[in-house]
């Protein structure tokens, strides 16, 4: 490292959302000529800290220094003037306009827009930075990778000295990743400082000079880019604390699976495969955990099972009933209880707790054509007591805390005694008490004979609850093991897309 002041330095950045600490006193610096990766799981606070550095979010405390002097950050305009550029996950491009016009946007002064000049400048920038795009191409016609190049070019042509890339590879195919990395190497060689946000170990190792690892809002450490993947994985996911609520040793699960997913395929935006040939089964009285870094098909798998996404091929069965492509009602009727990761969007925030508790089965609460209000109220009061929900029946769900919202969803699902429970990130964002409660409920259902598919990014949770683990990587099942055979290292490698090194 040189003696020069870092190009961008963050000192003690702290940011809270309500009671959740998204960033806890983060110190970070990036220097000209290096790629500094920010590694961490989803929700670790990577994006938040960089949004703060770019003026999109304001820190509760902490300082931002540029080239050795403090910067007052009010908005991205201040960031841009200080030489900070950021390419967010959602591109800020105008689709119907040409590349040159997009580059000229926000830079042109006065009333006249000299298109020929804009094209010349775009061509010049493209050549100077070695980023190949056709200035007269329409942005909407470009591939995602090319659009990303336009975004990078936009930042560079504003003379930025620090370039922040938020999960730049998430939207790219492997060949495009190679092009991106080649571009970044060339830019860094010319003295640019790059912050590279990612949760993919292999990529981080391939491109970074230094790696800072965030976990649950805290900076765990800053290590050299050459650090091996096992060590990075360990830093990223932390040491699991075995034995919190470990279920009684796995009985040899016998019998046919109650929930059987066979050779399931699903496609995402633009036909990109998001699930490929996924086969798994869950038996009665068993919790099967799905491990994987977020964005590897878990969300889509849960959506298919919840009836919110149509698979392109394959089979989903509960018992003997074929359900692939069924709508939410069909899935519920066959006995699947669904608790997805986005619990707020799965309830209706502006409706009362009582209504939300019966929304899946309104026809059971109808009397003489009208809503049976007394029955709905009694039902709500019973569930509120049974599931210890801290709310009154008439409170709109949106006024509840996260833990209580999760309990409402849990009560809605479990009160129907589902044979199969599909549950994703059940304790994300919950406090310790609510977390414990939710886990105990799931274990209780397991003891009662439900087949539970548990998706979680929290390895501690999976290891504490699951009887078997299935690892998803890029939409495929890359590993399956009994919990007794599962160790953190093997899981981490599988999750990172590496074969377990035995």
């Amino acid at each position: 490292m040189t003696d020069r002041a870092p190009t961008l330095e963050l000192r003690g950045i702290t940011k809270r959302f309500g009671g959740l600490v998204a960033n806890d006193g983060i110190d970070l610096d990036v220097r000209g000529g290096e790629v500094h990766a920010l590694l961490g799981e989803n929700g670790a606070g990577k994006t938040t800290v960089m949004r703060i550095a770019y003026g999109l979010t304001h820190a509760d405390s902490g300082e931002i220094w540029i080239n050795g002097s403090p910067l007052t950050m009010r908005s991205p305009r201040d960031a841009i003037e200080a030489g900070i550029g950021m390419v967010t996950q959602h591109f800020a491009l105008v689709g119907p306009m040409s590349v040159a016009e997009n580059l000229a946007l926000g830079r042109s002064r006065g009333l006249a827009l000299d298109l020929a000049d804009a094209r010349r400048r775009a061509a010049h920038a493209s050549e100077r930075f070695g980023i190949r795009v056709d200035p007269s191409a329409t942005v909407a016609d470009l591939s995602v990778g090319q659009q990303q190049r336009v975004e990078i070019l936009k930042a560079l042509s504003r003379d930025c000295s620090v370039l922040i890339l938020d999960e730049p590879t998430a939207v790219l195919v492997p060949a495009e990743v190679d092009i991106l990395f080649a571009t970044l190497r060339a830019l860094v060689a010319e003295g640019l400082a790059v912050v590279f946000i990612s949760h993919k170990l292999a990529e981080v190792r391939a491109i970074s000079d230094r790696v800072s690892v965030l976990r649950r809002g805290k900076l765990v450490g800053t290590v050299a880019g050459s650090t091996d993947e096992r060590e990075l994985a360990r830093l990223m996911v932390g040491r699991p604390d075995f034995g919190v609520e470990r279920p009684p040793e796995s009985r040899p699960s016998a019998g046919e699976p109650v929930l059987a997913v066979t050779r399931l395929h699903a496609a995402g935006a633009a036909g990109r495969p998001v699930l490929t040939d996924v086969t798994l089964g869950v038996r009665a009285g068993e919790i099967v955990g799905i491990a994987g870094v977020s964005g590897n098909g878990q969300t889509e798998l849960v959506e298919v099972l919840a009836g919110m996404r149509r698979p392109t091929r394959g089979s989903v069965r509960v018992g003997l009933e074929e359900l692939a492509g069924g709508d939410p009602r069909r899935m519920m009727r066959s006995g699947i209880g669904r608790i997805p990761e986005d619990r707020n969007a799965s309830l209706i925030g502006d409706l009362s707790v009582a209504y939300n508790l019966v929304l899946e089965r309104l026809d059971d609460f109808r009397r003489a054509g009208r809503i049976d209000e007394p029955a709905i109220r009694a039902h709500a009061e019973e569930l509120i007591a049974r599931f210890d929900i801290r709310a009154r029946p008439d409170d709109p769900v949106a006024t509840l805390s996260g833990g209580n919202i999760q309990k409402v969803l849990l009560a809605r699902v479990l009160s129907r005694d589902p044979r199969v429970i599909v549950v994703s990130q059940p304790t994300r964002g919950l406090d310790v008490g609510a977390t414990e409660y939710v886990r105990l409920q799931l274990l209780e259902r397991r003891a009662a004979g439900a087949a539970i598919l548990l998706v979680s990014e929290d390895l501690d949770e999976l290891l504490a609850l699951a009887d078997r683990l299935v690892v998803l990587y890029e939409g495929r099942v890359v590993g399956e093991m009994a919990r007794s055979e599962a160790d953190l290292e093997r899981l981490s490698m599988l999750m990172a897309g590496r074969e377990a090194a035995a």
Partner: protein
């Protein structure tokens, strides 16, 4: 915990009225009148004599119906801007049926005409609804664009096949006497349409507030994703709301033809469909609110036209007051929503953050 705003809806609407009066004092002064006097003339005087009071109710009748039509659609999250065109289709059907039912007893003629108007209004609403549900085409544009088409249809009929054979005016022949709405009170213009509007509003209130169907509709409007997740067929709900909305707007057309004009005319509706959007918004999409807002706007309209005579100010000032009232109400509603969201600690466009924040605030 999300705080409930102290700006309860009645307080908010009352504040909007006060702010409106402050803002419109300028134009009224410019027109050479005393603002206080003008407001008394606009709002209070029409309610003080039986004749003007009944006129207020007559004026409210069509906008009670279009207000209810718009509010139902909006509650479902279906932005029907086409009540004007649906009203005109209802009017066409009423005029056509009204002529054909010559000789039939009113007990048959009137229900047939009302049903025909409702079907015609619903038919005009169905295409945009299907386009929205099937292909995701924005109904704001399609419903709006069908309004001038409906007006062209009216004018085409009036300048073509339906031109009055006796006078040669571009008006349809008079409908049969048995198809005319009876007046409710002797020597007034208050007709059966007003009663019909009250029945429709009461029924709409009942369905929305008391039935599973209404709850599903509200759920679909509040959160399409959450509703779909709970097994509600959101597409069918939207189409249903659109059809009911169109049918009610169609009945407004029937009411104007059978209760006021007794024939189809080109100037049948001075924008009642659009005023319905104002009524629904001022009434905060609830049926009691729609009823109050419609009568209030009727009051203002009657007041403004008599104030024009008594105070010598332009009657368009009534429209100015209505317009300012709409803008202030929408502004206050929007700022309340914005403030509620700020209290959540969330930032616009960052759903993830908003969710985390909402979860954490206990």
């Amino acid at each position: 915990m999300r705080r409930i705003s102290p700006w309860s809806t009645p307080v908010l609407v009352a504040s909007a009225v006060l702010i409106t009066f402050v803002i419109t004092a300028g134009p009224i002064l410019a027109a050479g009148a005393n603002p206080i006097e003008a407001y008394v003339a606009f709002v209070v005087l029409p309610l003080t004599s039986e004749f003007t009071l009944l006129e207020v109710l007559v004026t409210s009748t069509p906008i009670l119906l279009t207000g209810a039509a718009v509010a139902i659609a909006f509650r479902a999250g279906y932005w029907n801007i086409g009540a004007e065109g649906q009203l005109l289709l209802g009017a066409i059907a009423a005029a056509g049926i009204g002529i054909m039912v010559e000789g039939l007893t009113p007990f048959l003629a009137l229900p047939i005409m009302v049903a025909g108007g409702a079907v015609a209004g619903a038919a005009w609403a169905i295409v945009p609804a299907l386009l929205r549900v099937r292909f995701g085409i924005d109904e704001v544009v399609t419903t709006l664009l069908l309004n001038p088409v409906a007006l062209l249809l009216v004018n085409g009929l009036l300048h073509g096949p339906w031109r009055d054979p006796v006078t040669g005016f571009p008006e349809s022949p008079r409908i049969a006497a048995s198809a005319e709405f009876p007046t409710l009170i002797e020597r007034s213009r208050l007709h059966l349409g007003f009663l019909l509007a009250i029945v429709v509003i009461a029924a709409a209130w009942y369905v929305l507030a008391r039935t599973p169907t209404g709850l599903r509709l509200r759920a679909a409007g509040l959160s399409p994703h959450g509703a779909r997740f709970a097994g509600i067929n959101v597409g069918a709900t939207l189409v249903g709301a659109a059809l009911v909305s169109g049918a009610i707007a169609g009945i407004a057309g029937v009411s104007e033809v059978a209760g006021i004009q007794n024939r189809l005319t080109g100037g049948l509706s001075p924008g009642y469909g659009y005023t319905g959007i104002v009524v629904a918004t001022l009434g905060t999409l609830t049926m009691p609110g729609v009823a109050i807002a419609a009568v209030f706007l009727g009051d203002l309209t009657v007041g403004a036209s008599s104030a024009a005579r008594s105070l010598g100010i332009p009657s368009q000032l009534g429209a100015v007051v209505q317009g300012v009232l709409l803008l202030t109400t929408v502004a206050l509603l929007a700022s309340r929503r914005h403030r509620a969201r700020r209290d959540d600690g969330a930032e616009a466009g960052t759903g993830g953050t908003a969710n985390i924040a909402a979860e954490v605030k206990a």
